[in-house]
């Protein structure tokens, strides 16, 4: 009888019957749910980031000046031309133009309807001032400059309210990020409890594996592989459900046609980010299961 110890090569075998037990049955469904929520949050994050970019571009560099219409159009035009000349002299002003009447009508139409076209209503004049972002003049300064010449001038710096809107959008983005992190933590916690239950169930087997000389890592790997497989399956389901849900949401939003909301558009980037949830969830499950097993095994004899 000669039994030689064979040479080592990497060979994997599931010695633990983890696959057959009940402890892991709900894991994929929990994972699916978590990944579904994470996918929605991520899509939300992207949409908000998009909106923020659009707003950011809007802040760029325009100040609008309204001049109430006077009795006489010719006189008005002269005063406007004078104002534009003065504005162009101001430091930080790149250019100033009067908006064509037709454009003003278009802008007011949503509010006034066909009345906007009526000559009965005195439409204000609108001057668009392009400013250099770095040293743009303050609205009050322009107002102070023009008021002596034109009564009732009204200066709007869009930047001010756009900036506060932008701040709000950024904080919602942070909330979405925190939600994704919380989801990851909840997922990991689920894996921890599932793994512990599995270990309790297979305690005898684990002991025998130790007695025959298995390293903790050998045992942990079997739990880790199993958890990552379940994580993969679960996140696949989650993403598969999130896809149609997001498309439906976009469609509904598009139909409502809020003028105020930026057009919701799910870019390739969003879908890629959501797709990476699958390997990420599998990896989270694997690492967590491994760590859980290693930690509990360290307490065994």
């Amino acid at each position: 009888m000669k039994f030689r110890l064979p040479t080592r090569i990497d060979w994997r075998t599931p010695d633990l019957p983890i696959a057959q037990d009940d402890t892991t049955r709900f894991l994929p469904w929990l994972m699916a749910f978590m990944v579904f929520l994470a996918a929605l949050s991520i899509a939300g994050m992207f949409v908000l980031a998009d909106a923020a970019r659009t707003l950011d571009r809007g802040i760029e560099n325009t100040i609008t000046i309204q001049v109430p219409a006077g009795e006489n159009q010719r006189a008005d035009e002269e005063r406007i031309a004078g104002a534009i000349a003065m504005l162009k002299q101001m430091p930080g002003v790149a250019g100033a133009d009067v908006l064509p009447r037709e454009r003003v009508v278009q802008l007011l139409e949503p509010w006034l309807g066909s009345a906007a076209r009526s000559t009965e209503i005195p439409l204000p004049w609108v001057i668009d001032v392009q400013v250099e972002r770095a040293n743009a003049p303050k609205a009050e300064m322009i107002s102070a400059l023009l008021t002596p010449y034109i009564t009732g001038v009204q200066v709007d710096d869009h930047g001010v309210w756009l900036r506060s809107l932008l701040r709000a959008v950024h904080s919602v983005e942070w909330i979405a990020i925190i939600i994704v992190i919380l989801i990851a933590v909840a997922t990991a916690a689920t894996v921890v409890f599932t793994t512990r239950a599995g270990m309790a169930l297979h305690r005898d087997t684990i002991e025998v594996m130790h007695f025959v000389g298995a390293h903790d890592a050998y045992i942990a790997r079997q739990f880790a592989i199993r958890a990552s497989m379940l994580g993969f399956k679960g996140s696949l389901i989650g993403v598969a459900l999130a896809g149609p849900a997001l498309l439906l949401l976009t469609m509904l939003m598009g139909n409502l046609g809020f003028g105020l909301l930026p057009q919701i558009h799910l870019s390739v980037g969003v879908w890629l980010a959501i797709a990476t949830l699958i390997p990420v969830a599998a990896a989270v499950a694997m690492v967590t299961a491994r760590a859980t097993v290693m930690k509990s095994l360290a307490r065994m004899v």
Partner: protein
């Protein structure tokens, strides 16, 4: 130091109970062969558990292969355990694995090549008379068959120390003889063997040394046929009395 096992003043108690083992001191040379005898409940299984690192002593010093187990870091324990083959009193076969996979376990945890695993395991299972039961789950095997699977698992990796708890308890004399022969062969190759048993005839006919466990202490009986005959007899007196009743 040629000791495979060394115990010095080892004590063991379970929880708050009395000391099952008190002041146990002995050492086993490499290549030695001992039977471990003692009345039921004397602590034979407990002593073996200490030796295969399933249990830590409450006090005292234990070394295995020259290493103090209390200072051996956890990640080096598998290395020690791989040198120890164990036949458990209650077998402890993995119920979801076939006889083949159970026996293959010690080779697989050291990542042996699968072709080697197959060759060794098949050869050994055939040797213990289970050629036709390789694929059987333990639950479908008889007690004696399970015991042989357990023994095959214990010896497959050619351990330096073989510990067997009642390995011949469930088999007929013919199989018992074969198993003893297997242990003997392993012993000839240098493996130290400790077999806990109640089988008086087996111990007598072997003429091997005896570790006698009584009152929580261990004594080594060198020659049970002669000098230590009385001491050896005393172990089984109680058992014989029970049989007579």
């Amino acid at each position: 130091m040629n000791d495979v096992v060394r115990f010095e003043s080892v004590g063991l108690r379970y929880g708050l109970g009395p000391e099952v083992l008190q002041d146990v001191s002995f050492s086993l040379d490499s290549g030695s062969f001992h039977f471990l005898v003692g009345a039921s409940g004397a602590g034979k299984s407990s002593l073996l558990r200490l030796m295969y690192l399933a249990q830590r002593p409450s006090r005292g010093y234990i070394s295995l292969f020259g290493r103090d187990i209390s200072t051996t870091p956890r990640h080096e324990l598998p290395g020690l355990r791989r040198k120890i083959g164990v036949v458990f009193q209650e077998f402890r076969l993995l119920p979801h694995l076939s006889a083949f996979d159970n026996v293959a376990l010690p080779l697989r945890v050291v990542k042996a090549r699968e072709s080697e695993v197959k060759r060794h395991v098949e050869e050994l299972l055939a040797w213990v008379g289970l050629k036709d039961h390789m694929k059987a789950r333990p639950s479908t095997l008889s007690g004696g068959q399970q015991q042989r699977v357990a023994i095959a698992r214990a010896v497959i990796a050619k351990p330096k120390l073989l510990l067997a708890d009642e390995p011949t308890g469930n088999v007929d004399d013919h199989i018992a003889g074969r198993l003893m022969h297997l242990f003997g062969e392993l012993n000839k190759l240098g493996t130290s063997v400790v077999i806990a048993t109640h089988n008086e005839a087996l111990v007598r006919s072997s003429g091997k040394r005896v570790l006698k466990l009584a009152d929580g202490e261990v004594r080594i009986l060198e020659n049970i046929a002669d000098d230590d005959a009385d001491e050896f007899d005393s172990v089984f007196a109680a058992d014989r009395g029970r049989v007579l009743l």
